[in-house]
Structures are given as C-alpha cells and as structure tokens.
C-alpha cells in the first residue's frame, strides 16, 4: 500500500491506525488535523482543499523518507484529504511507530511541520455568511 496518499474520500482513521501495527513498535503517535468550526475568530461553515495530487504524493513520500532518515522509525505513513470537508472531518492524518515514544513524538510533529510548509495543497474557508477566503499560506520551498 502507498505510504502517502491524497484522497477525495473521507479518511478511514481506523484503517490507517491498523497499518501502524508493528511487533517491535512500543510507541505510536498519531496526528489528525480536523476541520474546526472557527478560524481567526470567524465562524466556518466548511472547507475546500485543492491539491496538485501527483506532486503532493511525491512531496509527502519525500517528507516521510526524510523523517525515517532523521529518526529510527518502524513506520511513518499518512494522507491528506482534498475536496469539500465539513466541520469535524479529518483533513490530514499522520501516524508514526517507533521503538520509543520520544522518537515517535518528534518525528510526527516534524512531519506535520513539513506537510504544512511543503505539500502543494490549498485550503479555502467558506464562512458562515457564505463568503470564501483562500488561506494566506506559505510559499513552498524550492527543491533544486
């Protein structure tokens, strides 16, 4: 199965969690990014994510490979949702399995920072009043 996926279907967090099982892993850390009902003080109705899927998959896999190089991990996998997301739906899921918890926490947090900084995915808030705003965002880092 693919270690990093872009999907327009709801994220099956139970299925992703089961993929982390590993007999040598003592610590599993999972991050879920979920659509909140507010953002910068305004009520949110829903979100839309667009993603440049082929480059996003490649970038996600590169981030996971970098994390496996920085820490001793048994597994590091994840996915990012695109399309229309309602409040409470998961936009991103990242799971890390390691022998010890410190590595799992550090790697999972680092992966999420890298996802936010580098994944070619864009978020648009639709506010409670129906107006929309693209998130300000971070210019992706050139990779030359």
């Amino acid at each position: 199965m693919d270690d990093f996926v872009i999907t327009d279907l709801p994220i099956d967090v139970g299925a992703w969690r089961r993929r982390l099982d590993h007999p040598q892993a003592g610590g599993l850390v999972v991050f879920e990014g979920v659509v909140r009902d507010h953002h910068q003080g305004r009520a949110v109705h829903h979100l839309d994510y667009q993603g440049y899927a082929p480059l996003a998959v490649r970038t996600g896999l590169e981030i996971l490979t970098e994390a496996r190089g920085r820490w001793s991990l048994h597994n590091a996998i994840g996915c990012h949702r695109v399309g229309h997301l309602a409040i409470g739906e998961a936009a991103v899921w990242i799971g890390v399995a390691a022998a010890h918890r410190a590595e799992a926490f550090a790697a999972c947090a680092w992966i999420m920072d890298a996802i936010k900084a580098r994944l070619p995915v864009w978020k648009r808030d639709t506010w409670a009043d129906g107006s929309t705003t693209w998130s300000h965002g971070t210019p992706p880092e050139p990779q030359e």
Partner: protein, 80 residues
Amino acid sequence: MPDLTVLYFAHLRDQRGLDSERLVTVAGTARELYRELAQRHALSLPEKSLIVAINEQMVRWDAPLGDGDTVVFLPPVSGG
C-alpha cells in the same frame, strides 16, 4: 513555440476561471510564461510568492519550456 499544459490551483484557478488549459506560447522560460499569463488574465499573485513546477518537478523561474510540458505555478501552500 512550445505547446504546453498549464494547471491552475487556488487563487490562480479562481482568477483564470479554469482548472487547466493547453496553449502555445512565445515564452521561452517559466518566468516569461507567468508574465504573459498574469498580464492576459490579471493574475494577482507576484512571482516571488509562487513556485514553478514543470512536469511535477519544482524548477527555477529561468527553467526553459519544452513541447508537451505541464507547467504549474504553485501559490503559497496551506495544507494540514
């Protein structure tokens, strides 16, 4: 003159009013292509806020364009 596919995302998709288009351009580099498109379609994002990808690889603004290339100007990202 290269025959290209350009994909649009986020603000640029809204401003262009298209997800993608095929076009033939006199532009020789990614920078020249963005300036042409920005002028024609009133794209508001400055070059310095964008990253260019050609054929799913991030490249420099002075990267040359070749026939059949897929070109994407990536706005500041906001995943997660």
